[in-house]
Subunit: 114 residues, 3 copies
């Protein structure tokens, strides 16, 4: 029943672990185009999971928000190359404007603890 | 801690099972209107759950995305008739454009293993 | 493996408990502006969690939908004052039109049972 929270701010925790399940807060990237933002966003997912001795092979499900669905194909190119091909997560992708106009993509990740 | 993944593609798994929890990837339907798409979408949910010896009476929560919220009432007619009245899931529904313009509705389902 | 469902309607359950995890259906508030709606929405979260002997200190993750992202800062003022500062949840916030035009904000909450 223990809950562990990492990278706590006044607004959220970046990582919350409950029993065997890891919840990441919405991750966004940096850069001026969808390829750069998706790449850096997924690097942040990698880094957060690594902190809790986990990795992308243990992602259970993810929700991806694109600020403009016209970026779907380019986002997928980065995603498809990034995921563990032996262990792809469940996924859904929809269009949603994000916290700032500059943000093109955000991901919500749920993973399994090692 | 075991994770089972079914219907793996180069992009995602359609079904991921972790301990007692089942995660389905976003399901969409086919057809030219919201009634047809919701009906066929929920048939796909039924089929995926059946593959893992589960059914709609064990759905825990679901998120529904409509590409146009004006389809809310018609989607609900199909949904209300479909769910197990003894075991309705938690639910949220919001508007989000989907992967293609033709898609009117998508659902993300989390269920409990038998 | 037991599932408990509270406040069942013909469409959904407001609360679903599976093992140690609590899923709330999408909660919305009332009032004519984002501050009022966020405040009353979070009061409803408090009330539902209290019914199952839980509270906001045990929220694991939440997804917030704003009908207009221009309300982000005002929503956050209410959110930041509401959360348990020792136990902030993971969070993501995106823009999505909601079931009716009057609705400005909706939240999906996952919490840990006591």
């Amino acid at each position: 029943m223990k809950i562990t929270r990492l990278h706590k701010t006044e607004r959220m925790s970046k990582v919350v672990i409950h029993n065997d399940t890891i919840y990441l807060c919405g991750q966004v990237g940096s850069g001026n185009n969808i390829t750069e933002q998706t790449t850096t966003m997924l690097e942040k997912v990698d880094a957060l999971l690594a902190e809790v001795d986990c990795d992308k092979s243990r992602i259970l499900t993810s929700t991806i928000w694109l600020s403009d669905m016209s970026n779907f194909a380019e986002m997928n190119l980065v995603w498809d190359a990034w995921i563990d091909p032996q262990n792809p997560p469940a996924r859904a992708c929809g269009e949603a404007r994000l916290a700032t106009e500059a943000l093109l993509v955000e991901i919500i990740v749920t993973a399994a603890k090692n």
